[in-house]
Each structure stands twice: as structure tokens, then as C-alpha cells.
């Protein structure tokens, strides 16, 4: 039986770590434009977020693509034990959900929970 629905891809931290910023942004936009929902195990850096926003804007067209919905948690200022020793605060980006703006809608969000609605048009 053919099952209809929306494809959701979960991308592991390992896979993301092996990719350059541009590869990540390209992958996200290609997948989202083809109607998929993506869940990234590890979030994007601030400069990757900038690239993603810029490229999203470039690709918006009136009739096909109105942009993305992207949700992540506020960064955690994790200071690991080693980090503390070295006087560094690490900015940790976290789980991120991305989808087409016309299909993914955030219902509720707080520091630790994202609740989203996925529509099938």
C-alpha cells in the first residue's frame, strides 16, 4: 500500500559535523523546498543561521516558496568542567526543527519544549 504523508528526516550530529556550513544550508533548503521536515540533532551556529536566512530570502518566489519555519531552543551557556578551567563559556546550539513555512507551524514553545503542527496542505 502506498502511504501518503510528509517525509521527516532526522539528521544526526555526526553527519552534521562532517559537513561545511554551505553544505548544511544547501541540504536544508533543498529538502525543505521539496516539502520535507528536518530535525537536526545539533543546531546551526549563528553564522550558519545567518547564511540560512539569507539564502532562504534569495529563494523565496511568489508562487512556489514562501520561506521556512525554523525552531530551536535558546542556546545553553554550558560551561563544561574543562571549559570552566580554561575560562571559556561554550555556546551550545541545540535540537532544531525546520520545515516549509506553509506546512510547519509552531504552536507553543518554551525553553525546553517545542510543540509544532505539520499540515498536509
Amino acid at each position: 500500500m502506498l502511504m501518503k504523508g510528509i517525509q521527516m528526516d532526522l539528521i544526526s550530529e555526526d553527519k552534521l559535523e562532517g559537513m561545511t556550513s554551505m553544505e548544511k544550508v544547501r541540504l536544508i533548503l533543498d529538502e525543505v523546498k521539496s516539502g520535507k521536515i528536518l530535525v537536526l540533532e545539533k543546531g546551526l551556529t549563528p553564522s550558519e543561521q545567518n547564511k540560512l536566512i539569507e539564502l532562504t530570502m534569495v529563494e523565496i518566489t511568489p508562487d512556489n516558496f514562501s520561506g521556512i519555519e525554523i525552531e530551536s531552543y535558546p542556546v545553553k551557556h554550558g560551561s563544561s568542567f574543562m571549559g570552566k578551567l580554561l575560562g571559556k563559556t561554550t555556546v551550545k546550539t541545540r535540537l532544531t526543527v525546520i520545515g516549509p513555512a506553509d506546512q510547519l507551524k509552531t504552536i507553543k514553545k518554551d525553553r525546553d519544549m517545542i510543540s509544532a503542527l505539520v499540515s498536509t496542505h
Binding site: E54, M57, S66, S72, K109, R111
Partner: protein
């Protein structure tokens, strides 16, 4: 004025460049207009209830703010509202015709890119949020993440506190690590407090 003093004031450290950021409709231009009007007598740009009214960044140079017995001179940049999606249908729903809506959407996408690019050239950011709205958005997370990564000062403005369902506390709960001032850019509540915070953080 003595010659030394004259030289000093002439070669004083460069003015801080402060960007006013936030999602569309948060009240960035309303706030920029108030700041510029209070300290220079001029205005910055046009305001509208239709989102993406500002579609080009605007810089006003040399705005001197006196507060707390200290004085700071800033270049103030009012930026286009940041967004991850722009749908021309939203403008049509607000009564604009299709052609104008499509043009506005196109210009808005360019404005967002411009605002993102400006992040590279700033010394600090005033992040304006509509305090009646959910603060946990990608736009807010991105602006804050950028400033933290660059170790630049950030001041959060919880705007529209004249509205009954505004909740600056919710914003503080979302980003507790950053200073916050609650204001009404429209009606002027707490604007003196904002100037004090500006002098403290960007001086």
C-alpha cells in the same frame, strides 16, 4: 578650549554603531524615531501596522545621548525586520493589491538580507520585541546568538507595554542572561530608563 582638550575631543574613540533589530512590526522604527527626535529633533523613517515597512537599513550618525551623568554618541541604524518567511498573501490580506504585495515581498526579502549583512559592522544591538508576542523565535535566537558569538553588547527592549496582554517577564524568562528594558515606544513609558541602559551598555 585648550589645544589638548580640542585634540582629545577630535580624536576621541570612534562612535559606537548600534543596530536596532527585531522581527517585523516590533516597533523598531517607532523607537528609532523617538530616540532620534529626543536627541536631535529629526525623524528616522516611516512606521506602519503593515509588516516590512522598513525595507532598507537607515543610519543616523552622531546621536548624543545624555543619561546618568554620562554622555554617549552613537550611530543608530534602523534595520528592516528579520524573518525566515515572507508571503505576499499576508500583505493582500491587509488590503494591498496583488502587484504592490508582490513588490513589497520582494523588497522585504532584500531588506532581510541587508539587515543580516549589517550584523558584521556593528558595535552593539538593541533587540526590540513586541512584548505581546512569543519571544522564542528563530529571529530572536539568531540575533542574540550573533551578538554572543561576537562578544558584543546587547540590550533587549520589551516594547508595547501599553498593551494589556504584554509580558516583559516572558521575554526575560526566555533570555535571562541579557539586560532588558520594558518600554512603550509609542507612548513613551520608561524611555528615560532606556537611555540610562543605553548609556550604561554602549558607553
Amino acid at each position: 578650549m585648550g589645544i589638548i582638550k580640542k585634540m582629545k575631543s577630535k580624536f576621541k574613540k570612534k562612535r559606537a554603531r548600534i543596530g536596532i533589530y527585531g522581527p517585523p512590526n516590533a516597533g523598531k522604527t517607532t523607537l528609532a524615531n523617538r530616540i532620534i527626535r529626543d536627541w536631535t529633533g529629526d525623524a528616522m523613517g516611516s512606521v506602519s501596522h503593515v509588516p516590512h515597512e522598513t525595507r532598507r537599513a537607515r543610519r543616523r550618525e552622531g546621536v548624543t545621548i545624555n543619561a546618568n551623568g554620562s554622555s554617549v554618541t552613537l550611530d543608530v541604524i534602523d534595520t528592516p525586520g528579520l524573518a525566515t518567511k515572507i508571503d505576499f498573501h499576508d500583505f493582500m490580506a491587509l488590503g494591498m493589491n496583488e502587484e504592490d504585495s508582490k513588490r513589497r515581498a520582494k523588497e522585504a526579502t532584500e531588506g532581510v538580507i541587508e539587515a543580516v549583512k549589517w550584523l558584521d559592522d556593528l558595535d552593539g544591538v538593541i533587540l526590540v520585541m513586541d512584548a505581546t508576542e512569543d519571544p522564542y523565535t528563530q529571529v530572536n535566537v539568531t540575533v542574540i546568538g550573533n551578538m554572543e558569538a561576537r562578544r558584543l553588547p546587547l540590550l533587549i527592549v520589551a516594547n508595547k507595554i501599553d498593551l494589556p496582554d504584554s509580558s516583559p517577564a516572558r521575554i526575560h524568562g526566555a533570555f535571562p542572561q541579557h539586560p532588558l528594558v520594558s518600554v512603550s515606544a509609542l507612548e513613551g513609558q520608561n524611555i528615560d530608563l532606556l537611555y540610562k541602559e543605553i548609556a550604561d551598555h554602549f558607553g
